[in-house]
């Protein structure tokens, strides 16, 4: 059985980095209500990352600390997937990523709720309760975009650009379930080979620079 850190770090890094990417829309989302909602969801994802980092640190005997794990590692030590690292300056791509991420993330969180490790299962259930509202937000966008020709065409194109990276978010055993779920949700075919996790995924380097800038400036500052 893999150790906690091995199991949880990719997930925690995904949540942190997606939270960071999504919060880039704070103040510039297409309209005020969406701006607040989107930023709030982004903040939740960062909260989930914190819970997962805490859990992985506890499992390793409390040797590290959460901030060190979140912001103190070298860029190549992060395990986040290409889906979350990509800078997506177009709103349609960002919304498509939210929908795809929630679809995929629900499957792995659900798998974690069945973990033999009671603490991991417990945190997964807590995350699941919040993700319900994230999915409600993603689903309303999905249905609204599918409700009109232009929305559907733009969603289809955006999902097409991101599908391979979405597959790569999950471990191979969970991918068939994702494909089935996506076939049920999207009225268009999805094609693309999984884009696997690798050191320094596209877009991560500049993001890491920004994310860790303050911590590198004052390594053990207390705020």
């Amino acid at each position: 059985m893999p150790g906690r850190a091995e199991l949880l770090l990719p997930l925690a890094d995904d949540e942190l980095v997606l939270g960071w990417r999504d919060s880039e829309w704070t103040g510039v989302a297409p309209f005020l209500e969406e701006d607040v909602a989107f930023s709030s969801i982004a903040q939740n994802e960062i909260g989930h990352a914190r819970a997962l980092y805490e859990l992985s640190v506890r499992g390793e005997g409390g040797g590290g600390e959460v901030d060190e794990l979140a912001l103190g590692r070298a860029a190549e030590e992060y395990r986040c997937a290409p889906l979350v690292t990509a800078a997506l300056p177009e709103w349609e791509d960002t919304i498509a990523r939210r929908i795809l991420y929630e679809l995929a993330d629900a499957l792995r969180i659900d798998a974690l709720t069945g973990s033999d490790d009671a603490e991991v299962a417990g945190v997964a259930r807590k995350i699941q309760r919040e993700e319900r509202y994230h999915w409600a937000h993603a689903e309303m966008w999905l249905e609204r975009l599918l409700g009109d020709d232009e929305g559907r065409a733009r969603l289809e194109a955006a999902v097409g650009r991101l599908w391979g990276a979405t597959l790569g978010l999950l471990e191979p055993p969970l991918r068939p379930a994702l494909e089935a779920e996506a076939a049920r949700r999207f009225p268009f075919p999805l094609r693309g080979e999984p884009v696997e996790r690798a050191a320094a995924p596209p877009g991560f380097e500049p993001l890491w620079e920004e994310m860790t800038a303050v911590r590198r400036l004052v390594p053990h500052g207390q705020w």
Binding site: E33, A37, S40, A136, M140, R144
Partner: protein, 90 residues
Amino acid sequence: MIFEVFRREREGQPLQHAGSVEAPDLRFAEAYAREQFGRRQESVALLLVPRDAAREVEDFPDEFDWKYRRVDGYSIKARLREARERAGSG
């Protein structure tokens, strides 16, 4: 569409107007109201009403100075002062 949002801060308290959200439909409005007025646990219930569904009442005539109907009643300050002046001079 604009939706007026009412929130209940704690069980047993009356609903109060929280603000409004603009959203294309009730579903978006619900998601937006939840994030704007519920994400800090500041509400135990939210009610959404399309602004068009609310009837506005705005004309409140008061031609005959009906202030005696208000809880603060008549102002007796002026009369009290007059009475004091009379008593002082008498």
